[in-house]
Symmetry: C2
Subunit: 246 residues, 2 copies
Protein backbone atom coordinates (compact mmCIF):
# COMPACT_ATOMS: atom_id res chain seq x y z
CA UNK A 1 0.00 0.00 0.00
CA UNK A 2 1.37 3.43 -0.95
CA UNK A 3 1.66 5.66 2.10
CA UNK A 4 0.70 8.92 0.47
CA UNK A 5 -0.79 8.09 -2.92
CA UNK A 6 -1.68 10.83 -5.37
CA UNK A 7 -4.02 10.89 -8.34
CA UNK A 8 -5.13 12.94 -11.32
CA UNK A 9 -8.29 12.84 -13.42
CA UNK A 10 -8.46 13.60 -17.15
CA UNK A 11 -11.95 14.28 -18.47
CA UNK A 12 -11.96 13.92 -22.25
CA UNK A 13 -14.71 15.48 -24.28
CA UNK A 14 -15.76 18.48 -26.31
CA UNK A 15 -19.27 17.97 -24.88
CA UNK A 16 -18.09 19.05 -21.42
CA UNK A 17 -16.14 22.09 -22.68
CA UNK A 18 -19.04 23.26 -24.84
CA UNK A 19 -21.56 22.85 -22.04
CA UNK A 20 -23.69 20.15 -23.67
CA UNK A 21 -23.03 17.75 -20.85
CA UNK A 22 -22.28 18.54 -17.22
CA UNK A 23 -19.29 16.57 -15.89
CA UNK A 24 -20.34 13.97 -13.34
CA UNK A 25 -17.34 11.68 -13.37
CA UNK A 26 -14.61 13.97 -12.01
CA UNK A 27 -17.02 15.11 -9.32
CA UNK A 28 -17.76 11.50 -8.41
CA UNK A 29 -14.04 10.62 -8.25
CA UNK A 30 -13.29 13.62 -6.01
CA UNK A 31 -15.45 12.05 -3.30
CA UNK A 32 -14.35 8.47 -3.93
CA UNK A 33 -10.63 9.27 -3.88
CA UNK A 34 -10.94 11.30 -0.71
CA UNK A 35 -12.76 8.37 0.92
CA UNK A 36 -10.01 6.01 -0.21
CA UNK A 37 -7.24 8.18 1.24
CA UNK A 38 -5.87 9.17 -2.18
CA UNK A 39 -4.81 12.82 -2.66
CA UNK A 40 -6.28 14.18 -5.87
CA UNK A 41 -3.74 16.63 -7.28
CA UNK A 42 -5.20 17.74 -10.56
CA UNK A 43 -8.23 17.56 -12.84
CA UNK A 44 -7.87 18.43 -16.52
CA UNK A 45 -10.75 18.70 -18.97
CA UNK A 46 -9.44 18.35 -22.52
CA UNK A 47 -10.97 18.20 -26.02
CA UNK A 48 -11.19 15.09 -28.26
CA UNK A 49 -7.78 15.76 -29.79
CA UNK A 50 -5.18 12.98 -29.79
CA UNK A 51 -2.12 15.19 -29.23
CA UNK A 52 -3.74 17.13 -26.40
CA UNK A 53 -4.82 13.97 -24.62
CA UNK A 54 -1.49 12.20 -25.21
CA UNK A 55 0.55 15.08 -23.80
CA UNK A 56 -1.72 15.34 -20.77
CA UNK A 57 -1.58 11.60 -20.10
CA UNK A 58 2.22 11.53 -20.40
CA UNK A 59 2.68 14.50 -18.08
CA UNK A 60 0.27 13.32 -15.38
CA UNK A 61 1.34 9.69 -15.54
CA UNK A 62 4.80 10.87 -14.51
CA UNK A 63 3.55 13.27 -11.86
CA UNK A 64 1.12 11.19 -9.75
CA UNK A 65 0.57 7.58 -8.72
CA UNK A 66 -2.80 6.96 -10.39
CA UNK A 67 -4.32 8.60 -13.47
CA UNK A 68 -7.97 8.09 -14.40
CA UNK A 69 -9.36 9.05 -17.79
CA UNK A 70 -13.06 9.56 -18.49
CA UNK A 71 -14.57 9.34 -21.96
CA UNK A 72 -13.65 8.81 -25.58
CA UNK A 73 -13.75 5.01 -25.69
CA UNK A 74 -16.73 4.29 -27.98
CA UNK A 75 -16.74 3.25 -31.65
CA UNK A 76 -17.09 6.66 -33.36
CA UNK A 77 -14.74 9.23 -34.90
CA UNK A 78 -14.55 11.32 -31.71
CA UNK A 79 -13.48 8.36 -29.54
CA UNK A 80 -9.71 8.74 -29.54
CA UNK A 81 -8.67 8.03 -25.95
CA UNK A 82 -7.11 4.58 -26.45
CA UNK A 83 -5.15 5.82 -29.45
CA UNK A 84 -4.01 8.86 -27.43
CA UNK A 85 -2.92 6.80 -24.42
CA UNK A 86 -0.92 4.58 -26.79
CA UNK A 87 0.69 7.70 -28.30
CA UNK A 88 1.49 9.02 -24.81
CA UNK A 89 3.72 6.00 -24.22
CA UNK A 90 4.96 5.51 -27.81
CA UNK A 91 3.10 2.23 -28.08
CA UNK A 92 1.19 0.93 -31.09
CA UNK A 93 -2.41 -0.19 -30.58
CA UNK A 94 -3.24 -3.85 -31.00
CA UNK A 95 -6.41 -5.94 -30.96
CA UNK A 96 -6.68 -7.45 -27.45
CA UNK A 97 -7.79 -11.08 -27.77
CA UNK A 98 -9.25 -11.25 -24.25
CA UNK A 99 -11.39 -8.15 -24.81
CA UNK A 100 -12.47 -9.35 -28.24
CA UNK A 101 -13.55 -12.71 -26.79
CA UNK A 102 -15.49 -10.94 -24.03
CA UNK A 103 -17.25 -8.71 -26.57
CA UNK A 104 -18.11 -11.61 -28.87
CA UNK A 105 -19.41 -13.59 -25.89
CA UNK A 106 -21.58 -10.73 -24.74
CA UNK A 107 -23.02 -9.42 -28.01
CA UNK A 108 -22.66 -12.35 -30.40
CA UNK A 109 -24.17 -11.61 -33.79
CA UNK A 110 -25.26 -8.12 -32.68
CA UNK A 111 -21.60 -7.08 -32.54
CA UNK A 112 -20.58 -4.72 -35.33
CA UNK A 113 -17.11 -4.88 -36.82
CA UNK A 114 -16.91 -1.27 -35.76
CA UNK A 115 -17.48 -2.13 -32.10
CA UNK A 116 -14.25 -4.12 -32.15
CA UNK A 117 -12.37 -0.83 -32.32
CA UNK A 118 -13.00 -0.79 -28.58
CA UNK A 119 -10.77 -3.90 -28.32
CA UNK A 120 -7.89 -2.08 -30.06
CA UNK A 121 -5.90 -0.99 -27.04
CA UNK A 122 -2.32 0.18 -26.41
CA UNK A 123 0.01 -2.78 -26.93
CA UNK A 124 1.27 -2.54 -23.34
CA UNK A 125 -2.19 -2.53 -21.77
CA UNK A 126 -3.42 -4.99 -19.15
CA UNK A 127 -6.99 -5.79 -18.10
CA UNK A 128 -7.92 -5.29 -14.45
CA UNK A 129 -10.98 -6.90 -12.93
CA UNK A 130 -10.52 -5.87 -9.33
CA UNK A 131 -10.82 -8.15 -6.29
CA UNK A 132 -13.82 -10.00 -7.81
CA UNK A 133 -11.65 -11.37 -10.62
CA UNK A 134 -12.63 -12.24 -14.21
CA UNK A 135 -16.31 -13.06 -14.63
CA UNK A 136 -17.34 -10.67 -11.84
CA UNK A 137 -17.28 -7.58 -14.02
CA UNK A 138 -16.21 -6.03 -17.29
CA UNK A 139 -12.46 -5.29 -17.07
CA UNK A 140 -10.80 -1.88 -17.00
CA UNK A 141 -8.07 -1.24 -19.58
CA UNK A 142 -4.94 -0.06 -17.74
CA UNK A 143 -1.69 1.17 -19.27
CA UNK A 144 1.07 1.59 -16.69
CA UNK A 145 -0.69 3.74 -14.06
CA UNK A 146 -3.43 5.04 -16.38
CA UNK A 147 -6.94 3.65 -15.85
CA UNK A 148 -9.15 4.16 -18.90
CA UNK A 149 -12.82 4.61 -17.99
CA UNK A 150 -15.83 5.41 -20.19
CA UNK A 151 -17.71 8.73 -20.23
CA UNK A 152 -21.24 7.44 -19.58
CA UNK A 153 -21.63 8.10 -15.84
CA UNK A 154 -23.47 4.90 -14.90
CA UNK A 155 -20.85 2.71 -16.59
CA UNK A 156 -18.01 4.86 -15.28
CA UNK A 157 -19.18 4.25 -11.70
CA UNK A 158 -19.79 0.55 -12.17
CA UNK A 159 -16.30 0.05 -13.56
CA UNK A 160 -14.64 2.18 -10.90
CA UNK A 161 -16.51 0.38 -8.12
CA UNK A 162 -15.15 -2.95 -9.36
CA UNK A 163 -11.55 -1.81 -8.90
CA UNK A 164 -11.82 0.83 -6.18
CA UNK A 165 -10.42 -1.26 -3.32
CA UNK A 166 -7.14 -1.57 -5.23
CA UNK A 167 -6.53 2.10 -4.41
CA UNK A 168 -7.31 2.14 -0.70
CA UNK A 169 -4.69 3.87 1.44
CA UNK A 170 -4.36 5.28 4.96
CA UNK A 171 -7.24 7.68 5.63
CA UNK A 172 -6.99 11.46 5.31
CA UNK A 173 -8.66 13.07 8.33
CA UNK A 174 -10.40 16.42 8.16
CA UNK A 175 -11.68 18.93 10.71
CA UNK A 176 -12.86 22.54 10.57
CA UNK A 177 -13.03 25.68 12.70
CA UNK A 178 -15.33 28.63 12.00
CA UNK A 179 -14.22 32.17 12.82
CA UNK A 180 -16.47 35.09 13.77
CA UNK A 181 -13.96 37.56 12.34
CA UNK A 182 -12.61 38.18 8.85
CA UNK A 183 -9.68 36.47 7.16
CA UNK A 184 -7.31 39.41 7.50
CA UNK A 185 -7.76 39.35 11.30
CA UNK A 186 -6.84 35.69 11.61
CA UNK A 187 -4.20 35.54 8.88
CA UNK A 188 -1.30 35.97 11.30
CA UNK A 189 -2.52 33.15 13.56
CA UNK A 190 -3.04 30.98 10.48
CA UNK A 191 0.57 31.58 9.40
CA UNK A 192 1.79 30.47 12.83
CA UNK A 193 -0.37 27.34 12.69
CA UNK A 194 0.88 26.43 9.21
CA UNK A 195 4.50 26.92 10.34
CA UNK A 196 4.05 24.87 13.55
CA UNK A 197 2.24 21.92 11.90
CA UNK A 198 3.87 21.10 8.57
CA UNK A 199 2.05 17.74 8.32
CA UNK A 200 -1.32 19.51 8.31
CA UNK A 201 -2.87 21.12 5.23
CA UNK A 202 -4.67 24.28 6.42
CA UNK A 203 -7.24 26.02 4.22
CA UNK A 204 -9.04 29.31 4.79
CA UNK A 205 -12.36 30.04 3.08
CA UNK A 206 -14.42 33.19 3.52
CA UNK A 207 -18.11 32.37 3.90
CA UNK A 208 -20.37 34.34 1.63
CA UNK A 209 -23.54 33.96 3.70
CA UNK A 210 -23.97 36.73 6.23
CA UNK A 211 -23.98 35.24 9.72
CA UNK A 212 -21.70 34.44 12.63
CA UNK A 213 -19.30 32.36 10.50
CA UNK A 214 -17.06 34.70 8.54
CA UNK A 215 -14.32 32.19 7.69
CA UNK A 216 -14.15 28.42 7.57
CA UNK A 217 -10.67 27.11 8.38
CA UNK A 218 -10.10 23.50 7.34
CA UNK A 219 -7.44 21.08 8.58
CA UNK A 220 -6.49 17.94 6.63
CA UNK A 221 -3.87 15.36 7.53
CA UNK A 222 -3.08 11.67 7.61
CA UNK A 223 -1.66 12.32 11.10
CA UNK A 224 -4.57 12.55 13.53
CA UNK A 225 -2.45 13.81 16.42
CA UNK A 226 -0.96 16.62 14.33
CA UNK A 227 -4.44 17.44 13.04
CA UNK A 228 -5.96 17.78 16.50
CA UNK A 229 -2.87 19.67 17.66
CA UNK A 230 -3.15 22.22 14.85
CA UNK A 231 -6.83 22.75 15.53
CA UNK A 232 -6.25 23.24 19.28
CA UNK A 233 -3.33 25.59 18.57
CA UNK A 234 -5.38 27.85 16.31
CA UNK A 235 -8.44 27.72 18.59
CA UNK A 236 -6.32 28.92 21.52
CA UNK A 237 -4.81 31.72 19.44
CA UNK A 238 -8.24 32.91 18.27
CA UNK A 239 -10.03 32.67 21.62
CA UNK A 240 -13.45 34.30 21.49
CA UNK A 241 -13.26 34.64 17.70
CA UNK A 242 -13.99 30.90 17.38
CA UNK A 243 -17.67 30.40 16.52
CA UNK A 244 -17.71 26.64 16.07
CA UNK A 245 -15.44 23.60 15.79
CA UNK A 246 -16.25 20.45 13.80
CA UNK B 1 -12.90 41.18 -32.60
CA UNK B 2 -11.11 37.82 -32.80
CA UNK B 3 -12.76 35.54 -35.36
CA UNK B 4 -12.29 32.26 -33.54
CA UNK B 5 -11.28 33.08 -29.97
CA UNK B 6 -10.27 30.33 -27.58
CA UNK B 7 -10.14 30.22 -23.80
CA UNK B 8 -8.96 28.16 -20.83
CA UNK B 9 -10.03 28.18 -17.19
CA UNK B 10 -7.72 27.47 -14.24
CA UNK B 11 -9.51 26.66 -10.99
CA UNK B 12 -7.10 27.08 -8.09
CA UNK B 13 -7.82 25.44 -4.79
CA UNK B 14 -7.20 22.43 -2.61
CA UNK B 15 -10.80 22.77 -1.42
CA UNK B 16 -12.09 21.68 -4.84
CA UNK B 17 -9.66 18.76 -5.19
CA UNK B 18 -10.43 17.49 -1.69
CA UNK B 19 -14.19 17.75 -2.19
CA UNK B 20 -14.86 20.38 0.49
CA UNK B 21 -16.29 22.77 -2.08
CA UNK B 22 -18.02 21.96 -5.35
CA UNK B 23 -16.67 24.01 -8.27
CA UNK B 24 -19.23 26.53 -9.50
CA UNK B 25 -17.01 28.95 -11.37
CA UNK B 26 -15.72 26.76 -14.20
CA UNK B 27 -19.23 25.47 -14.71
CA UNK B 28 -20.55 29.04 -14.89
CA UNK B 29 -17.85 30.06 -17.39
CA UNK B 30 -18.59 27.08 -19.64
CA UNK B 31 -22.05 28.51 -20.30
CA UNK B 32 -20.95 32.14 -20.46
CA UNK B 33 -18.11 31.51 -22.91
CA UNK B 34 -20.31 29.41 -25.17
CA UNK B 35 -22.88 32.23 -25.20
CA UNK B 36 -20.14 34.73 -26.06
CA UNK B 37 -18.88 32.65 -29.00
CA UNK B 38 -15.59 31.78 -27.29
CA UNK B 39 -14.31 28.18 -27.66
CA UNK B 40 -13.32 26.81 -24.28
CA UNK B 41 -10.36 24.48 -24.89
CA UNK B 42 -9.32 23.36 -21.43
CA UNK B 43 -10.16 23.45 -17.74
CA UNK B 44 -7.48 22.65 -15.17
CA UNK B 45 -8.08 22.31 -11.45
CA UNK B 46 -4.81 22.76 -9.57
CA UNK B 47 -3.72 22.92 -5.91
CA UNK B 48 -2.59 26.04 -4.01
CA UNK B 49 1.03 25.54 -5.06
CA UNK B 50 2.90 28.43 -6.68
CA UNK B 51 4.97 26.35 -9.12
CA UNK B 52 1.99 24.29 -10.27
CA UNK B 53 -0.12 27.38 -10.87
CA UNK B 54 2.72 29.29 -12.54
CA UNK B 55 3.49 26.47 -15.00
CA UNK B 56 -0.17 26.07 -15.85
CA UNK B 57 -0.66 29.80 -16.39
CA UNK B 58 2.43 30.04 -18.60
CA UNK B 59 1.42 27.06 -20.73
CA UNK B 60 -2.21 28.08 -21.21
CA UNK B 61 -1.44 31.77 -21.74
CA UNK B 62 0.58 30.73 -24.77
CA UNK B 63 -1.99 28.23 -26.04
CA UNK B 64 -5.28 30.17 -26.04
CA UNK B 65 -6.53 33.73 -26.41
CA UNK B 66 -8.05 34.24 -22.96
CA UNK B 67 -7.17 32.58 -19.64
CA UNK B 68 -9.38 32.95 -16.57
CA UNK B 69 -8.20 31.98 -13.10
CA UNK B 70 -10.54 31.32 -10.19
CA UNK B 71 -9.50 31.55 -6.56
CA UNK B 72 -6.46 32.15 -4.37
CA UNK B 73 -6.62 35.96 -4.16
CA UNK B 74 -7.45 36.59 -0.48
CA UNK B 75 -5.13 37.69 2.35
CA UNK B 76 -4.15 34.29 3.83
CA UNK B 77 -1.24 31.86 3.44
CA UNK B 78 -3.08 29.72 0.86
CA UNK B 79 -3.79 32.69 -1.44
CA UNK B 80 -0.90 32.47 -3.89
CA UNK B 81 -2.45 33.15 -7.29
CA UNK B 82 -1.10 36.68 -7.87
CA UNK B 83 2.39 35.57 -6.85
CA UNK B 84 2.09 32.55 -9.18
CA UNK B 85 0.89 34.62 -12.15
CA UNK B 86 3.86 36.95 -11.59
CA UNK B 87 6.19 33.92 -11.52
CA UNK B 88 4.62 32.59 -14.72
CA UNK B 89 5.82 35.70 -16.56
CA UNK B 90 9.04 36.28 -14.62
CA UNK B 91 7.66 39.49 -13.15
CA UNK B 92 8.08 40.75 -9.60
CA UNK B 93 4.96 41.71 -7.66
CA UNK B 94 4.44 45.35 -6.73
CA UNK B 95 1.90 47.29 -4.69
CA UNK B 96 -0.62 48.73 -7.17
CA UNK B 97 -1.42 52.32 -6.16
CA UNK B 98 -4.81 52.38 -7.91
CA UNK B 99 -5.96 49.20 -6.16
CA UNK B 100 -4.61 50.41 -2.82
CA UNK B 101 -6.53 53.69 -3.16
CA UNK B 102 -9.72 51.80 -4.06
CA UNK B 103 -9.32 49.55 -1.02
CA UNK B 104 -8.63 52.44 1.34
CA UNK B 105 -11.61 54.32 -0.05
CA UNK B 106 -13.89 51.34 0.42
CA UNK B 107 -12.82 50.04 3.83
CA UNK B 108 -11.13 53.01 5.47
CA UNK B 109 -10.06 52.27 9.03
CA UNK B 110 -11.46 48.73 8.82
CA UNK B 111 -8.72 47.84 6.35
CA UNK B 112 -6.03 45.57 7.79
CA UNK B 113 -2.42 45.90 6.69
CA UNK B 114 -2.81 42.27 5.70
CA UNK B 115 -5.63 43.06 3.28
CA UNK B 116 -3.24 45.17 1.25
CA UNK B 117 -1.56 41.97 0.12
CA UNK B 118 -4.45 41.85 -2.35
CA UNK B 119 -3.04 45.04 -3.92
CA UNK B 120 0.36 43.35 -4.49
CA UNK B 121 -0.02 42.31 -8.10
CA UNK B 122 2.37 41.29 -10.90
CA UNK B 123 4.35 44.35 -11.97
CA UNK B 124 3.00 44.10 -15.53
CA UNK B 125 -0.67 43.93 -14.50
CA UNK B 126 -3.38 46.28 -15.66
CA UNK B 127 -6.82 46.91 -14.15
CA UNK B 128 -9.86 46.32 -16.35
CA UNK B 129 -13.26 47.79 -15.51
CA UNK B 130 -15.17 46.71 -18.59
CA UNK B 131 -17.46 48.94 -20.68
CA UNK B 132 -18.83 50.70 -17.56
CA UNK B 133 -15.42 52.18 -16.79
CA UNK B 134 -13.91 53.07 -13.39
CA UNK B 135 -16.48 53.75 -10.70
CA UNK B 136 -18.97 51.26 -12.20
CA UNK B 137 -17.38 48.23 -10.62
CA UNK B 138 -14.40 46.76 -8.82
CA UNK B 139 -11.64 46.18 -11.42
CA UNK B 140 -10.27 42.84 -12.60
CA UNK B 141 -6.49 42.36 -12.40
CA UNK B 142 -5.24 41.29 -15.84
CA UNK B 143 -1.73 40.20 -16.78
CA UNK B 144 -1.27 39.87 -20.54
CA UNK B 145 -4.22 37.59 -21.46
CA UNK B 146 -4.76 36.22 -17.94
CA UNK B 147 -7.84 37.45 -16.06
CA UNK B 148 -7.54 36.90 -12.31
CA UNK B 149 -10.90 36.28 -10.64
CA UNK B 150 -11.76 35.39 -7.04
CA UNK B 151 -13.03 32.01 -5.85
CA UNK B 152 -16.18 33.12 -4.03
CA UNK B 153 -18.85 32.39 -6.66
CA UNK B 154 -21.00 35.50 -6.14
CA UNK B 155 -18.02 37.82 -6.51
CA UNK B 156 -16.60 35.76 -9.37
CA UNK B 157 -19.82 36.27 -11.33
CA UNK B 158 -20.14 39.96 -10.53
CA UNK B 159 -16.61 40.63 -11.71
CA UNK B 160 -16.95 38.53 -14.86
CA UNK B 161 -20.25 40.19 -15.74
CA UNK B 162 -18.57 43.60 -15.63
CA UNK B 163 -16.06 42.61 -18.31
CA UNK B 164 -17.91 39.92 -20.25
CA UNK B 165 -18.76 42.03 -23.31
CA UNK B 166 -15.05 42.49 -23.95
CA UNK B 167 -14.94 38.84 -25.04
CA UNK B 168 -17.94 38.71 -27.37
CA UNK B 169 -17.26 37.06 -30.73
CA UNK B 170 -19.22 35.60 -33.64
CA UNK B 171 -21.75 33.08 -32.33
CA UNK B 172 -21.19 29.32 -32.31
CA UNK B 173 -24.34 27.57 -33.55
CA UNK B 174 -25.43 24.17 -32.34
CA UNK B 175 -27.94 21.56 -33.50
CA UNK B 176 -28.60 17.91 -32.72
CA UNK B 177 -29.96 14.72 -34.26
CA UNK B 178 -31.13 11.69 -32.29
CA UNK B 179 -30.66 8.19 -33.69
CA UNK B 180 -32.85 5.16 -32.99
CA UNK B 181 -29.92 2.83 -33.56
CA UNK B 182 -26.60 2.32 -31.77
CA UNK B 183 -23.36 4.18 -32.34
CA UNK B 184 -21.63 1.34 -34.18
CA UNK B 185 -24.43 1.32 -36.80
CA UNK B 186 -24.09 5.02 -37.58
CA UNK B 187 -20.32 5.33 -37.18
CA UNK B 188 -19.64 4.99 -40.93
CA UNK B 189 -22.16 7.71 -41.82
CA UNK B 190 -20.66 9.91 -39.09
CA UNK B 191 -17.20 9.48 -40.61
CA UNK B 192 -18.52 10.58 -43.99
CA UNK B 193 -20.21 13.61 -42.44
CA UNK B 194 -17.06 14.64 -40.59
CA UNK B 195 -15.01 14.29 -43.79
CA UNK B 196 -17.51 16.26 -45.91
CA UNK B 197 -17.96 19.17 -43.46
CA UNK B 198 -14.61 20.09 -41.94
CA UNK B 199 -15.99 23.38 -40.53
CA UNK B 200 -18.46 21.47 -38.36
CA UNK B 201 -17.59 19.84 -35.05
CA UNK B 202 -19.59 16.59 -34.84
CA UNK B 203 -20.06 14.77 -31.52
CA UNK B 204 -21.65 11.40 -30.84
CA UNK B 205 -23.05 10.56 -27.40
CA UNK B 206 -24.78 7.31 -26.44
CA UNK B 207 -27.88 7.96 -24.35
CA UNK B 208 -28.05 5.94 -21.19
CA UNK B 209 -31.83 6.15 -20.73
CA UNK B 210 -33.64 3.31 -22.44
CA UNK B 211 -35.96 4.75 -25.05
CA UNK B 212 -36.13 5.57 -28.74
CA UNK B 213 -33.05 7.81 -28.63
CA UNK B 214 -29.96 5.62 -28.61
CA UNK B 215 -27.43 8.25 -29.70
CA UNK B 216 -27.39 12.03 -29.67
CA UNK B 217 -25.33 13.47 -32.51
CA UNK B 218 -24.36 17.12 -32.03
CA UNK B 219 -23.24 19.64 -34.65
CA UNK B 220 -21.39 22.84 -33.74
CA UNK B 221 -20.09 25.51 -36.08
CA UNK B 222 -19.70 29.23 -36.59
CA UNK B 223 -20.83 28.59 -40.19
CA UNK B 224 -24.60 28.20 -40.15
CA UNK B 225 -24.80 26.98 -43.75
CA UNK B 226 -22.21 24.28 -43.16
CA UNK B 227 -23.99 23.32 -39.93
CA UNK B 228 -27.37 22.87 -41.62
CA UNK B 229 -25.66 21.08 -44.52
CA UNK B 230 -23.95 18.58 -42.23
CA UNK B 231 -27.19 17.87 -40.38
CA UNK B 232 -29.13 17.35 -43.63
CA UNK B 233 -26.34 15.15 -45.00
CA UNK B 234 -26.36 12.82 -41.99
CA UNK B 235 -30.16 12.79 -41.76
CA UNK B 236 -30.38 11.64 -45.37
CA UNK B 237 -27.76 8.94 -44.81
CA UNK B 238 -29.57 7.63 -41.72
CA UNK B 239 -33.11 7.75 -43.13
CA UNK B 240 -35.57 5.95 -40.84
CA UNK B 241 -32.98 5.69 -38.07
CA UNK B 242 -33.49 9.39 -37.30
CA UNK B 243 -35.73 9.72 -34.25
CA UNK B 244 -35.63 13.51 -33.83
CA UNK B 245 -33.87 16.66 -35.04
CA UNK B 246 -33.35 19.80 -32.96
Amino acid sequence: MLTDPTAAVIVIGNEILSGKVDDQNARYLIGELRGLGVSLRRIEVVPDVVDDIAQTVRKLSGAVDHVFTSGGVGPTHDDVTLQAVAAAFDMPTARNAELEALMRGRWGAALHARDLRMADVPAGARLEYGPGGPGSTWPVVVVRNVWVLPGVPGIFRRKFEAVRELFRAAPIYGRALFSRVDEAEIAGALDETVAAFPAVDVGSYPQSDPGPHRVKVTFDSRDRTALDGALAFLAKRLGDAVAKIE
